[in-house]
Amino acid sequence: MRQLLADLMDAAAGRADYADVRHVSSAAESVATRNGLVDVVRHGSEEGFGVRVRIGGAWGFAAERGSSKESAESALERAIAVAQAQPLVPGAGPLAQELPARGSYATALEIDPFEVPLEEKLALLLAADEAMRGDPRVTLTIAQFSAFREDKLFASSDGALCHQRIVECGGGIVATATSEDDAQVRSHPGAHREQVAQAGWEHFAGLDIVAYAPRVAEEAVALLSAPHCPAGRTTLVLDGEQTALQVHESVGHALELDRVLGREASYAGTSWVSVPDLGALRYGSELMNVSADATCAGGLGSFGWDDEGVAGHAFPLVSEGMLRGFLSSREAAAEIGLERSGGCMRADGFSRQPIIRMTNVNLAPGDAGSLDDLIADTDEGIYMETNRSWSIDNRRLHFQFATEAAWEIRGGERTRLLRNASYAGITPEFWSALDAVCSESEWQLWGLLNCGKGEPGQAMHVSHGAAPARFRDVQVGVA
């Protein structure tokens, strides 16, 4: 296969200004229980070539299934034909330079999740599911496990040739309690059933879903009769998971350079940030330090090289509240005069082309101690935990989030449970109101599997490191 890809790039070099090819072989497994029954056991596999060429500034990308030379060559011909059929792109410059990617990368793991017997997975999920049931108001319980494996060989007309094997797994539990006119949800360890990491079975086993199951169910039931989150402006403490999503939506997406340059205006949107803001814009308070780091152990955005052969590396996006970087590609980086791409081009499988994506976009820990310490340091406010809904405008400026649960904070103590909690804000105002971030001991990576972008659509896996954080004077109770 290595020789096939190298030969293909030799053939492409004389016909395109730039070309690259990925042969991707992937596998996925999904196992889930629902109300005490095994509901899903699903395996999937696919393989194919994705060939990308750049001719006169226009890109052509074609994907064909399989592993044969004929498939690879057919994809190359189609990519060239599509690139040539498009209107010219006057003034298109060269790509940012990068040393050719060579070598291999593999996820560090202890136990291959695909090798764990299905019976063992089912036993764990059924035990967690069982531990959530009992109260008749709990009408839906789900326990979920997912695993993904991707073998990817990449070559380019720049001379790159590298192999990567990436393995991810994780899962979680969720309980839904219902009444005649309400449905309340609680999850562990995070929202949407999934806390996935680039790791082996040991990661999922360590989530301890059986031990947390009774509390999840009890809180779902308690939410049915809890008072509504009051409306008003107050101090807001977010758990690590919601803080991570806040970073994702209002920092990560806003700093994707394709959006900043208007390339995603018709779908994902643009950004409230502009290129001249680099180094000059105050994004948030001095406690705000955000980096893109494709080298984090366990991160879903970690890799040896991105999907155009740029070595994974870390760089600052926001330092002490000031804008310091963008998530970029070789083309976009060159366009704004950066010496090097941020290494953020990622594709969802062989049949999608790489686009600018987050890697692991992390909010650095602060010095506020534990979550309990932070709450103890808060006279009055609301603590919100576990995302339930999210929405943000196409410039990544105005947002509104809701969480599964919230607690009132009074006199430094977490008091009564609140339901239907939500908050809203404007990105720079919100981040400027950041006045505490918990310490390293509370910091962890939170994985997201459903970051949607691109046309045709791509669902990317990304992670965000975050610890609980506190924001002053925030509008809450908006929904």
Partner: protein
């Protein structure tokens, strides 16, 4: 070999108690931004999915390889999954794959569209760029065509295939003022897509004169263009008309069938052979699709079911499976049709409004509390103030937080000509769908920022 023959080979590899599906996709998408091409994607791929039933449980496996070894491996994986499920505790929730039934004829294919002509796409982009330059705006968007064949074979005798084409073009024009306008068109045939008309329509919205004004949060009368209406209906399809959510007491229709849930003018159905939809003859279990009223004269009438949720509800399937054995996300209405009213167009709907909001499309809509159909999202690419019955000037985009069913309850009038609308989103294997709906006027909509 045809895709149905491939499905039958996969079925043979699985043996008794099985259902095999082949979905073969050929597609082409061209993207552009700032009046230049930016990305293009040509796909030639297929998915073979094998579902095996053992002891009332369905295990599944899929591959994109078509050789005998791969099909046998896929079938064994599905069987092993089903066997493990059958040995787990609990009852037997799945009643069995449906028996073969006569399938309706549908108008789904256009040979010219299936050529996936990149030159035609390039010409469409050039037309949009030409209009944009003339109007002093920049054009952004996509042009795409697809040719997808779905074949289903089961041990219950199902042997069905359907080849469908679709075409979609989106034009977003952005003026130097940063105001934007949006239009799309989607159809079975690419010949029905007119790039010039789309670009002119989007440019007209982007260049509407007047400085944008900002409104305070609150409740305002609204006119929603069909794109905005469709967005709300799609969310109802996921949360409310979904038979699994219904039997699990998570749907707003749970316990409310037969109740008034919308204005009397609201007649909404899933109509898989309505002329302007992407017609579908059968669902993922090979069950024929038939028209199903969801809201009739404002009254909740039905939800959609697959075999699994239909068994739990005691009603049987309505032909809305999205996966054999039932998807964990439930069945789905994929051919929503909202009947039109008497207004000639969206502008006429504005006539009775003294001061209100005209909305082209809604964006990043998400359910806040699904059982209440409470949604939040923002307006985008063409939001205007209505004053004295007319669209008067641009508005700064706003966030709404409101109940989708509530909006249908507050609906006062509908335009007369429902149109097929789509966002052209194609995650996973391409599945063209759209909502046929008119524009509507609602007495109020709640804006929260």
């Amino acid at each position: 070999m045809t895709n149905l023959e491939l499905a039958q080979r996969a079925l043979a590899a699985a043996g008794d108690g099985a259902l095999a599906t082949v979905t073969a996709e050929r597609s082409l998408m061209l993207r552009y931004a700032r009046s230049r091409p930016t990305q293009s994607t040509a796909i030639d791929d297929l998915t073979v999915e094998v579902a095996v039933l053992r002891g009332g449980r369905v295990g599944t496996a899929s591959t994109n390889a078509a050789d005998d070894d791969s099909l046998a491996h896929c079938a064994r994986a599905a069987e092993a999954a089903a066997e493990a499920m059958a040995h787990s505790p609990g009852g037997n929730p799945y009643p069995g794959f449906p028996a073969a039934q006569p399938l309706p004829d549908c108008d789904t294919f256009d040979a010219a569209t299936a050529r996936l002509d990149a030159e035609q796409g390039g010409a469409a982009l050039a037309e949009a760029f030409e209009v944009a330059e003339r109007e002093g705006v920049e054009a952004h968007g996509t042009w795409t065509v697809g040719d997808v064949e779905t074949a289903v074979a089961s041990s219950e005798g199902v042997a069905a295939s359907e080849r469908s084409t679709d075409a979609f073009m989106k034009v977003v024009c952005i003026a130097p003022s940063d105001r934007s306008g949006y239009t799309t068109a989607t159809a079975r045939s690419v010949a029905d897509i007119n790039p010039r008309e789309l670009a002119e329509s989007a440019a007209a919205k982007a260049t509407m004169t007047g400085d944008p004004v900002a409104l305070d949060p609150g409740e305002y009368p609204v006119v929603l263009e069909s794109h905005a209406v469709a967005e709300l209906l799609v969310h109802l399809s996921w949360t409310t008309f979904n038979g699994l959510a219904f039997v699990e007491d998570r749907s707003a229709f749970s316990g409310r069938l037969g109740s008034t849930v919308a204005a009397p003018a609201i007649n909404l159905s899933d109509s898989p052979r309505f002329p302007r939809t992407f017609q579908r003859g059968f669902d993922a279990e090979g069950v024929p699709k038939a028209p199903l009223p969801l809201i009739q004269d404002g009254v909740a009438k039905n939800v959609v079911h697959d075999t699994a949720s239909g068994a739990r509800a005691g009603t049987g399937t309505t032909g809305h499976a999205t996966a054999p054995g039932g998807s964990p996300y439930g069945p789905m209405a994929t051919n929503l049709v909202l009947t039109g009213g008497g207004a000639s167009d969206a502008r006429e709907l504005c006539a009775p409004i003294e001061r209100g909001i005209y909305i082209t499309r809604l964006w990043y809509v998400n359910a806040v509390r699904p059982k209440e159909t409470l949604l939040t999202g923002v307006t985008r690419d063409g939001t205007f103030l209505i004053e004295d019955g007319k669209v008067s000037r641009p508005l700064v985009d706003m966030r709404f937080t409101d109940s989708a069913l509530g909006l249908l309850e507050r609906t006062q009038a509908l335009s007369s000509t429902p149109v097929l609308t789509s966002e052209g989103e194609f995650y996973g294997r391409r599945f063209a769908s759209g909502v046929v709906c008119p524009a509507l006027r609602a007495a109020s909509m709640r804006f929260t920022g």
